[in-house]
């Protein structure tokens, strides 16, 4: 499958944002929770029809995430765009249907987005202890990567969800 509808993906992103802000926060582990929207952005970049669609979808999903945050508008859009651009660049040499690929790509993307966001917050509003940054980034990236495999599998199998 190499096609999805960006509009449907955005609807799914809005639903996942509501889940992230309610249910998933309840199941947070030591304050870290899986970043469902980032998993979706990785899916968007890995399985895009062409690079323009992949970039646009990643950027828009980041913008949806920005809607639910007190941080500056456009920050997650920018970070997701960066992650999406790298995934699009390297996906030709990846076996993207492999769960291991999805796991690794999402883990690295989650580390990048979390670390960069933490840096921006630390610079703009105040200090976050280094221990909190490292612990939360790793735990959150692990949870996000673990969630990415079943999520990508579901979206890959139930094509009507995104086509």
């Amino acid at each position: 499958m190499t096609k999805y509808s960006t509009g449907k993906l955005l609807l799914l992103a809005a639903l996942l944002l509501a889940c992230e802000l309610t249910v998933l926060d309840r199941w947070a582990l030591k304050g870290a929770r899986p970043e469902t929207l980032l998993s979706l952005a990785c899916f968007a970049a890995l399985f895009a029809r062409d690079s323009t669609q992949g970039l646009l979808a990643s950027w828009l999903i980041g913008l949806v995430k920005d809607a639910g945050s007190a941080g500056p508008l456009g920050l997650h859009a920018l970070l997701f765009l960066g992650a999406g651009a790298v995934v699009l660049e390297i996906r030709q040499i990846l076996f993207r249907e492999s769960p291991l690929t999805q796991l690794c790509v999402t883990f690295i993307a989650a580390c990048w987005v979390n670390l960069a966001a933490a840096l921006v917050v630390a610079i703009s509003v105040g200090g976050i202890p280094l221990g909190v940054i490292v612990g939360k980034t790793l735990l959150s990236a692990l949870l996000t990567a673990a969630l990415a495999v079943p999520m990508h599998f579901t979206l890959y199998q139930a094509r009507w969800l995104v086509r």
Binding site: L55, W59, D66, G68, A70, G74, I128
Partner: protein, 285 residues
């Protein structure tokens, strides 16, 4: 050709992101809080689904009609009981708060919580169902009972975003009241410090005088800050550990007493006009 298109798309979206980042916060805040107001129906969705009939297509005989009426009345009773509990909770909150600020004429506005958390792991905020049309204003303190929940940082027409006390951007003057003397402590004689959030589950109090005795379990209370509309004596949390460290002044971890994820209602604290005016003019309130 393809790579040129990709490059131009990347630069275009990058530029758009930068424009959004540089937009005046007043514009971006209103836009996204209005977008979040689109999620308001979700708040009542789960309650609404409970009202749906369990089965469809049965013929409405007399027994069925009576059963339906009975179900309806039972449902009404449950609804009224829930509403009663909600109002009792709001009253309890208001009374608890009034005890703390009874002689200062603060006004309280009740608001429901839509989202009890922030989508960014590094920010801590909640979204409430009261915007500028309901009287919410940027900078107002939000409380639950006599516990500080946070401060309003963004306002839209129907919703507002509250930066909670664990957000790294939250700061307030605070004092640690030892457990043993909490009832009779005089704030004016104690060395105040600065409380700030850390993006983790706890906050931090620092820059309080080294000679101030601080122990685990001590309550951390606000000190009066009329310029920011903060009355004294509101609870920020409890000290869980004290780090004397290498610096001149100790730091202490503060655990909020509230679980923000469980909040359904909060109160917005509106100071009387003379409270802020007196502070700004340099006189006593």
């Amino acid at each position: 050709m393809g790579s040129r298109r990709r490059r131009s798309a990347t630069w275009l979206l990058l530029g758009l992101s930068l424009v959004l980042l540089l937009l005046p916060s007043g514009v971006s805040q209103k836009t996204r809080l209005s977008a979040l107001a689109g999620f308001l129906p979700l708040q009542g969705l789960s309650r609404w689904t409970l009202r749906l009939p369990g089965s469809w297509g049965t013929s409405p005989g007399e027994l069925e009609t009576l059963r339906t009426q009975n179900d309806f009345l039972q449902d009404q009773q449950v609804k009224v009981t829930h509403e009663n509990q909600r109002l009792a909770l709001l009253l309890e909150q208001a009374l608890g708060m009034k005890q703390t600020v009874r002689d200062q004429n603060f006004r309280l506005l009740a608001a429901d919580v839509i989202f009890p958390t922030d989508s960014s792991p590094w920010r801590k905020s909640i979204t409430i169902t009261l915007g500028t049309r309901g009287g919410a204003e940027k900078g107002l303190l939000v409380v639950y009972n006599n516990q500080v929940v946070g401060r309003i940082v963004e306002t839209g027409p129907w919703t507002s975003r509250v930066q909670t006390v664990t957000d790294p951007g939250f700061r307030a003057g605070a004092v640690a009241a030892p457990r043993t003397t909490a009832s009779g402590v005089a704030f004016s004689e104690r060395h105040g410090g600065v409380y700030e959030g850390t993006a983790g589950q706890n906050g931090l109090i620092k820059w309080f005088g080294g000679e101030t005795p601080v122990e685990n379990g001590a309550a951390v209370l606000t000190t009066e800050d009329p310029a920011n509309g903060v009355p004294r004596g509101l609870s920020l949390g409890r000290i869980t550990s004290v780090n004397l460290g290498r610096g001149a002044l100790p730091r202490a971890d503060v655990e909020p007493l509230l679980d923000f994820r469980s909040l359904e209602h909060v109160m917005i604290l509106i100071p009387p006009p003379d409270f802020r005016a007196a502070a700004l003019s340099g006189g006593k309130p």
